[in-house]
């Protein structure tokens, strides 16, 4: 359970952080700090168990029918990473509290920060590969939000977009690789995959798996050739860089490589792909880091270089190299996060991070300088600091590499060269910022920051020193547990001593230190230019932009070729394809009529259908130029449909159809007001081309209609199939407690469906409302309708808002309609309450009440109604949804699954026999939501007139 809690706490904290006020810096920091600290404490407390048992597991059933569980797994390696993520998170929260300015909207920062922490813990602790990929994506998304935190800066937006594009594409590749891997291994559980190592390596798909997973890992860890996003991500706030871009997110890539090391490593392909990418990043980024002008730029390239070192170690196919890699992961996190914090402090106190402007800060900020110097020394690999130890192990591995000769000599040379670079850029950074003459033109006068801001950095530096001096005591056992978790029984023996005697690695270390100092003294110290020699023309960002532009324009071009923006063309294509597809199927299989004899034709019914059919045809005939007549015809066709439902004993359908008809008519008429008039200058239906087009449309429409009719006939003349219908009919009363099968299905058997549908209805209503708020009708529709202009003349149209009844022609209807309102409420409640046992229900009831409300608007006008009757459709929607959800959740109190109906049947003293059921509550929710959604949408359109009236008043146009 503790495992779930570790992941759950940050997410919970994030939810809380999102709802705090924007200036609550202290509350946010306390909340985030508490969540991070609690997660750290739980992680620490789990160590004895991990050390004793090896692996802790937690399986929470999620979709057991599909074999999907939420699977958490913590072994020594995952523990080390979890400690890194939680512990570093706690320190960064403290730091961020003092770093963020009071003007920044901190809730957004801390809530995304905690989401990221939770997602990262999810990656680390997942015992299921697909689940891990899901959390992996979540880290990409939350890091996007964090990099773009200051979204008013174009640079931040660009950097965030680049990071998301690169890591997101990598995540997609990783997903593919994981799917293949799980397929080969016969399961996605991490233990299954780890046990299937021999099959995976022998499988013909192995190269594809390796390439895809390497793509995912290398993009995430910013390895060559995908390294370019990391320097651009430096536009993030510094706490984000310290956390994501040194300690955690970029480590996810190497975490994955180490996690799958037993399964994928050990082949030549692994050596070349992983080792090659690592070596290129190590040397190239080290070189580039020497010429950066931005403090964070230096640190970003140095991070790429150090991650390259780790990747190279993982790629070397040796157990000892893996140990060194894990060790360096921990070491790099400590000194690099501390350096990022120092860069942030310098930026915070002086207002700049430009190495050309900064100088001599050690006088003003001695503590910061001391901490940064120690951390930079650890980064350079100075003895008695943690960086030295893991770098020494790395040098030793390059020397004892079991490969052909040229690689055996080349690799140590390259490693030493990278060491030289590392020393040189560390020296340059420290020397430029903290030494030399005091800087003159800084934006702020530098001074020491508050102690609390130094504390996280100081703790990290202390860790660097402690690990560097007494490694076996401080980190020895944890490192052994971690590497033992990956390597199992094969874990090699190694010693974490500071002193191994005079040997080649030590020599290499001294060469690197001496060479680095020499390089710095000879070249870099006096260099003022801001460009990178030799590699000037290679620019990852430019390549990225070019590729992205090509993709976008290509997609647009393809879209232009393959699709049409015209609705008519799209409709034609859809129906033509449907018709063609059906005809293709009919040709080989035929469409035989069934054996059932048709019922004798009732002449009255035939006449009814004649009326309905004629109306339907008339709609199509008149829709183009006589919209109003078409609405009337559509009303006739709708009535015929409702009567058909009644005739064939489907009263529920008839009720619904009738109410929907009425509301639809009003809706269309409301919209009709804003459609432009027919422009007589545009030619009517004459000429050859329009006639040809219309004939084609008639053919397609007629074909589709006749085809559907034939299909319906073929189905209806066959004997009824014993599907699920008899079940519903038989079980409606015993299980659902209702006599009306239709309603029992809607609110009980398929209640979850209905819940989803009403949610969608609510969303649609809100969307319509939101869209219409910003909608402005065409200018030619803005004018007052001719009728009103003629009848009202120049008099102010509405001056009788206080009158009991609207004046003029609407007075008599208003009397009628006001009397109708309570009656309609009664009728609607009647249909709602009896719905479970007889035709009716929440949907019909809701529509009836909504119709009555709309009628008030219709006769009174918006002002008149809204000054008397305040309908708050948004509340109705919200309360309706809440009621429906409450009816569903209520089942939990009876120990039943969501939306199980709970009924109570008994006799009350005065009232008599009474049947109460939770489905009534559910139906009441549907009722309220339908009332709210319908009135919201219709009134939103009606308010357009209000707005155009204001517009006319504002422009002084009386027409």
């Amino acid at each position: 359970m503790e495992l779930a809690l570790i992941i759950f706490l940050p997410f919970l904290g994030s939810l809380g952080a999102a709802f705090l006020p924007p200036n609550a810096r202290n509350a946010e920091a306390w909340l985030a700090g508490a969540a991070a600290l609690a997660a750290t404490a739980i992680t620490v407390s789990l160590y004895p168990q991990v050390a004793a048992e090896g692996v802790l597991r937690l399986n929470l059933p999620w979709a057991p029918a599909l074999g999907l569980d939420i699977s958490l797994r913590m072994d020594g390696f995952a523990w080390l990473f979890a400690l890194l993520v939680t512990g570093m998170g706690t320190l960064v929260v403290i730091y961020a509290r003092y770093y963020m300015s009071p003007a920044d909207p901190v809730p957004r920062f801390f809530s995304f920060f905690l989401v990221f922490m939770g997602a990262m813990l999810g990656v680390v602790l997942s015992g299921h590969l697909i689940q891990m990929v899901m959390f992996w994506e979540m880290t990409s998304l939350s890091s996007f939000m964090l990099i773009a935190y200051w979204h008013h800066r174009g640079e931040a937006r660009r950097g965030a977009r680049m990071a998301l594009t690169v890591t997101g594409a990598g995540g997609l590749a990783l997903f593919g690789g994981v799917l293949l891997l799980g397929h080969i291994a016969g399961g996605y559980d991490l233990d299954t995959v780890l046990a299937a190592a021999p099959q995976v390596k022998a499988h013909p798909w192995y190269p594809a798996v390796l390439a895809l997973i390497a793509l995912g890992a290398l993009t995430k860890s910013a390895q060559f050739p995908f390294h370019f996003w990391l320097p651009h991500a430096m536009s993030a706030p510094t706490p984000v860089s310290a956390y994501l871009h040194s300690a955690t997110m970029v480590k996810a890539g190497v975490f994955l490589l180490a996690r799958l090391w037993p399964v994928l490593a050990g082949t030549d392909a692994w050596f070349w792909i992983i080792g090659g990418a690592g070596l290129c990043s190590l040397v190239l980024a080290g070189y580039l880091a020497m010429f950066q002008q931005d403090m964070k730029g230096v640190l970003a390239y140095s991070t790429i270089s150090h991650l390259g070192l780790i990747t190279l170690l993982l790629g070397m196919n040796s157990e000892l190299a893996l140990v060194a890699a894990v060790f360096h992961i921990a070491n790099h996190a400590t000194f690099k996060a501390s350096l990022f914090m120092a860069a942030g402090i310098v930026d915070h106190e002086t207002g700049t991070r430009d190495l050309g402007r900064l100088s001599g800060l050690s006088r003003a900020m001695p503590l910061t300088a001391a901490l940064a110097v120690v951390a930079a020394a650890a980064m350079a690999g100075v003895p008695l600091l943690n960086g030295f130890l893991s770098k020494e192990m790395f040098f030793a591995e390059t020397v004892f590499l079991d490969r052909p000769d040229w690689q055996r000599f080349g690799l140590p040379l390259a490693a030493t060269l990278a060491g030289v670079f590392s020393v040189a850029y560390s020296l340059r950074l420290i020397q430029r910022v903290f030494f030399g003459p005091p800087a003159q033109d800084l934006p702020h006068t530098p001074h020491e920051p508050t102690r609390w801001m130094l504390l996280p950095s100081a703790l990290l530096v202390a860790a660097c020193v402690l690990v560097g001096v007494v490694p076996e005591l401080v980190i020895g056992p944890y490192l052994r547990t971690a590497t033992g978790a990956i390597l199992g029984a094969d874990a090699p023996a190694y010693s974490l001593a500071v002193w191994h005697g005079f040997n080649t690695p030590l020599l290499m270390s001294f060469v690197a230190l001496g060479g680095g100092a020499l390089l710095h003294g000879a070249l870099l110290a006096r260099r003022g230019a801001t460009t990178v020699p030799l590699l000037e023309s290679i620019d990852g960002r430019h390549l990225f932009d070019v590729t992205l532009t090509a993709l976008t324009t290509g997609a647009e071009r393809a879209l232009r070729r393959l699709s049409s923006p015209r609705l008519q063309m799209q409709m034609l294509l859809i129906f033509a394809v449907a018709l063609g597809g059906a005809l293709l199927l009919v040709k080989p299989f035929g469409i035989g009529w069934g054996a059932n004899a048709p019922q004798p034709l009732d002449p009255a019914f035939a006449l009814l259908w004649l009326v309905g059919g004629a109306c339907a045809l008339a709609v199509a005939w008149q829709a183009k130029y006589h919209r109003f007549a078409a609405v009337a015809f559509a009303g006739g066709a709708g009535l015929a449909t409702s009567l058909t439902f009644v005739w064939f004993s489907a009263p529920d359908l008839a009720l619904t159809q009738l109410t929907v008809e009425v509301v639809t008519t009003v809706l269309i008429l409301l919209g009709l007001r804003w459609l432009p008039r027919r422009d007589e200058r545009i030619a009517g239906p004459g000429g050859a081309t329009p006639r040809l087009r219309r004939s084609r449309d008639i053919l397609v429409a007629g074909g589709c209609g006749l085809g559907l009719a034939a299909l319906a006939y073929a189905v209806l003349t066959r004997p009824a199939v014993d599907g699920i219908a008899p079940f519903f009919v038989q079980q409606a009363l015993p299980q659902g407690g209702g006599l009306n099968v239709v309603n029992v299905i809607l609110v009980d058997f398929r209640g979850f469906d209905t819940f989803g549908e009403i949610t969608v209805l609510g969303i649609v209503a809100l969307t319509v409302y939101a869209l219409l708020r910003r909608f402005r009708p065409a200018p030619e529709s803005m004018r007052l309708p001719d009728q009103q202009h003629e009848q009202d003349g120049d008099a102010s149209p509405r001056d009788s808002q206080e009158a009991m009844l609207p004046a003029g022609a609407m007075m008599l209807p208003a009397v009628l309609v006001r009397l109708l309102l309570p009656l309609a409420l009664l009728v609607s409640l009647f249909f709602l309450l009896r719905g479970h046992n007889a035709p009716g229900g929440g949907f019909v009831g809701g529509l009836i009440l909504a119709t009555a409300v709309i009628l008030q608007y219709l006769v009174g006008g918006t002002h008149w109604v809204e000054s008397r009757l305040r309908i708050h459709p948004l509340y109705w929607i919200a309360i309706g949804l809440l009621l429906a959800a409450a009816a569903g959740i209520g089942a939990a109190f009876a120990g039943a699954p969501f939306l199980t109906s709970q009924a109570w049947h008994g006799t009350l003293p005065v009232v008599g026999e009474l049947h109460l059921s939770s489905v009534l509550l559910f139906d009441l929710g549907v009722y309220m939501l339908v009332v709210g959604a319908t009135t919201l949408m219709l009134v939103a359109i009606a308010h357009q007139s209000l707005r155009s009236q204001h517009h006319r008043t504002a422009t002084g146009d009386t027409r």
Partner: protein, 93 residues
């Protein structure tokens, strides 16, 4: 009596269907928009009566509720159309 009722119901149904046909002719031919609205209203009245007849014929009270609904709200569509013709928009400010 029992033999007479179905006959009467069927006769009435046929009559209503015929009158709906008449209303349809007015609906289609117009000529004025007002004619169409009246025709639609007549259609609704006849529809309501048809439903009542069906209810009597089948001996079920359920149909009465549907007829009630038409009686209460069948006029809304016609009213909205009439309002549209009279004032140029359905819901005025």
């Amino acid at each position: 009596m029992n033999a007479l009722l179905p006959l009467a119901v069927n006769f009435a149904l046929a009559c209503f269907a015929l009158s709906m046909l008449c209303a349809l002719i007015r609906l289609l031919r117009g000529p004025a928009a007002q004619d169409r609205i009246l025709a639609l209203d007549t259609l609704y009245i006849n529809g309501m009566l048809t439903i009542l007849m069906l209810g009597i014929g089948l001996g079920s009270a359920l149909y009465f509720d549907i007829a009630l609904l038409i009686a209460l709200f069948g006029f809304v569509g016609s009213t909205a159309m009439a309002k549209f013709l009279l004032r140029g928009e359905v819901i005025e400010p």
